[in-house]
Amino acid sequence: MTAGTEAPALGLTHLGSEDTGLGQRGPQSKSIVVPYGFWLFVLSDMVLFSALFATYASLVHATDGGPTTNQLFHRDLVAVETMALLLSSFVCGLAMITAKRANMVWTQVWLVLTGLLGLVFIGIELYEFSSMIAEGAGPQRSAFLSSFFTLVGCHGAHVTAGLLWLGTMMAQIGAKGFQPHIMRRLLCFSVFWHALDIIWVAIFTIVYLIGTLP
């Protein structure tokens, strides 16, 4: 390269033309690129869950003479779980509103509430799992139960990971304040948390409600 000619930053510039079709702006700022990349991750996570849903739908009647969906699932428990996760998602949104205004007290209050509601959800789920296993309806009982524990357990593992992330974010906000990189992480967390609620809508409909139809 000879001195004096400036190398195009992205290697996409047309010779003799300033108009690259990309504008003069260069790449988007991190506050756009990072959450967008995380959005792609969340969507690929949903593809993962679609495979688990397809497995469950294929195996739901393969009960090997063991307990069926109608005998195992309790709608009232699921209703409480659903409410807890929906309210948790809502309160997480309120935390985002106050975080954008850099209101430390209310952000932490809403995030604590988000976490408590998430704990209620995961507590009920663990209670359900342990009582099913105690009844002899563990994941090794039949193909149906294997796919059930994989699907619902995978969602529960995501919620547990989300709760750990939530605790980390509360500590980081408390220690470092509302800096741009902390806010990016908080935004990614809220996208993750809302996405888990979307997957739960599919689970409570396909697994629990359709599974307990008369």
Partner: protein, 128 residues
Amino acid sequence: MTEPDPEKLNVAPGTPHDSMVSETISYVAGLGLALVLTGVSFWVASTGTLWGPGVATGLVVLAIAQMGVHLVFFLHITSGPDNTNNVLALAFGVLIVFLVMIGTIWIMAHMNANMGMSPELMNLQMQR
């Protein structure tokens, strides 16, 4: 021609609105709609007044509607010009999800029907 503000050309998913009031209204409206749809789902599943064979389909439709509510009101995925990238990524995700789910269910149902197994093997209740 003025250079557009780079931050306004695209918006990240889940980004809060500028106005606190419209933001709060969005979350409250989303919560209300989600509560109504969840309530209707549980009612549809419990009531005996509806045509039985259609209930499962109705529940799936309600679930898809509720997912839409969550996407619009909680994740702020809108049809606005600053949201094109988010919507396109979502559309691709939805395509793959439907291909995987409907494709699997369709193929597995036909395999079950066409394998010509003996009646004992055809009974999924007895399979591990």
